[in-house]
Amino acid sequence: MSVSRDEVLRIAQLAEFDVDEDSLPEIAEQMSRILDYVAQLSAIPTNGTVKTFVPGPDAIRFRPDEVAPSPLMFGPAHFAPAFKEGFFVVPKLGQFE
């Protein structure tokens, strides 16, 4: 098994979601299976000389520096789950912030 329970927990922490104890073994197993499967890529010799490829334009297009915001039919007050006095509101980080 290439991914341990602890690694799953560490990754889940980076990705900011909880993994409950009961599902941990199954998730670790599935992740291992997938990672073992994709690990076959390392078998291919590339010598670090093969350039990466991404489709799309070769170079960024520059936008002129004008105030021209993309339209919003309504503001955050309408879709925010918690909004007060013009601010998004979230619970505090914890006792250290």
């Binding site: 993309s70 955050p76 998004f88 509101v89 912030e97």
Partner: protein
């Protein structure tokens, strides 16, 4: 006794670029708008939104890189820096990682301890700013304003080349001056357009290896730079001298207590999982584009200082004061060109103009032309120095033509020899014993006579002429 310690400091400076719109969307960047009113799908991180790069921001970043003598890379890549925080709407910041815009520049500054120091600029790259989190507005909650989210920033990273908190301050001062000079940023720490984080470590004097460093954040004003770094240095020295080890952590500066404290008791080291931004093609800079940015660069502060010294025969000290900001330097030169004699102009700008500006939000309230006129009036003997200062103040507050104002205030010196002769006669007549002493050789009494003439004329006598008339009369 404690060994000799050396402090090693590197600075990471974030500078907001002076653009009208944000880095990746067309929202306004203007300061002070009501919260969450300068936002759009892109800088709100709404599902489906995509970034589009601001060409002017790129140009300003290139100018900054050129002014710092960096190698500007014709191709650089935007990358995602992934982490979670409420004022980071996408859950990642678009920045640059292993292929930044520019590398390997220098910044020379005057260290209070070592003379001229040349710090390395390891890299300069483009990125977007996060929004603002306000922790004390609502109880048990954080308020988030995304107006600032997406504002263009450049990050300038120095090498570990600074050796004291005072040096760090000097470096930062010089950097700020340079970037203001080339007009790419307001560099205002109070407004947040210039932010600095420091990396601090200590080692025994003579060591060359670098020890574990800490990061010091939350330095919100220029005056705190030296204090914060001094506090952290002292903390590290005390720790090591007591037998402990410096651990890598982030320290937050508390300006009220003048202390540093760890950001979090158990800080997980961030794994930012950088990868190239798939929503943006590579940033390709044509030679023409870079050349255009080069041509837009004004004379840099160091160059200007040297030229002032040579061209206007100014001392290094005076030239430094006059080139401290582009506004003052341009002002000075405009006064000289008006025309005015360079030395007199220097004196007037350094004393009267700058003092007035200090009390009036750095505004140079008297136009260069008006100042040149005032200087000419003094040189021509129409105004005494004292009177000229009054005229200056009047022009500063109310505007107007200096000559007219001098006249209306009755400050114009009297150069009419007849009137002068009258005053001289009165004075000499009233002080016959002194006249006698003068004629017997006490020539220093001339100053006394002159003073009396000035008193009699209520300051309006042209002192040079008055002296000549006195000399004539006394030698008769």
């Amino acid at each position: 006794m404690s060994q000799a310690w050396e402090t090693v400091i590197g600075l990471e400076t974030h500078v907001q670029l002076r653009t009208r719109s944000k880095m990746f969307c067309g929202c306004s960047t203007s300061f002070g708008a009501p919260p969450n009113t300068q936002v759009c799908p892109v800088c709100l991180g709404l599902p489906g939104a995509l970034p589009v790069a601001n060409g002017t921001a790129i140009g300003l970043a290139v100018r900054g890189a050129l002014a710092l003598g960096c190698t500007v890379h014709p191709k650089s890549i935007f990358a995602r820096k992934n982490y979670f925080y409420p004022d980071l709407p996408k859950g990642y910041q678009i920045s640059q990682f292993d292929q930044p815009l520019a590398t390997q520049g220098t910044l020379s500054f005057v260290s209070p301890e070592r003379g001229t120091v040349t710090a390395t600029i390891v890299r300069l790259h483009l990125e977007e700013d996060a929004g603002k989190s306000i922790h004390d507005r609502f109880p048990k909650a954080t308020a988030v304003d995304l107006n600032r989210s997406g504002v263009p920033l450049i990050e300038i990273v120095s090498g570990p080349d600074l050796r004291s908190p005072a040096e760090a301050r000097a470096y930062l001062q010089t950097l700020k001056q340079l970037l203001e000079y080339i007009g790419i940023s307001d560099c205002d720490m109070e407004k947040g357009s210039l932010r600095v984080d420091a990396n601090v470590s200590i080692r025994r004097a003579g060591e060359t290896a670098l020890n574990t460093r800490t990061e010091v954040k939350n330095i919100n004003a220029f005056s705190f730079v030296e204090k914060a770094l001094g506090v952290e240095r002292d903390r590290q020295i005390a720790l090591v001298e007591a037998g402990g080890n410096v651990t890598q952590q982030t320290m937050l500066y508390d300006s009220k207590e003048n202390t540093v404290r760890p950001q979090r008791a158990k800080e997980e080291s961030h794994d930012y999982r950088y990868f190239p931004e798939p929503d943006l093609p590579p940033l390709v800079l044509t030679p023409e584009f870079v050349a255009e940015q080069q041509s837009e660069l004004p004379e840099l502060p160091g160059q200007k200082r040297e030229r002032f010294m040579a061209q206007y025969a100014l001392s290094r000290e005076h030239a430094t004061v006059l080139t401290a900001s582009r506004a003052v330097a341009d002002y000075y030169e405009n006064v000289v060109r008006a025309p005015a004699e360079p030395q007199a102009a220097a004196n007037w700008v350094m004393t009267e103009a700058l003092a007035d500006a200090k009390d009036h939000q750095e505004q140079l309230r008297v136009s260069a032309a008006a100042l040149a006129q005032i200087i000419a009036l003094v040189k021509g003997g129409t105004l005494s120095n004292q009177a000229a200062k009054r005229v200056f103040a009047e022009v500063a507050n109310k505007g107007g033509d200096p000559r007219t104002i001098a006249e209306s205030l009755g400050l114009v010196l009297v150069a009419d020899t007849n009137v002068l002769a009258g005053w001289v006669s009165d004075v000499l007549g009233a002080h016959a014993p002194e006249v006698g002493r003068y004629k017997n050789g006490e020539t220093k009494l001339m100053a006394f006579f002159l003073g009396q003439v000035m008193r009699a004329s209520k300051g309006k006598a042209d002192p040079k002429l008055a002296q000549r008339v006195l000399e004539e009369k006394l030698s008769a």
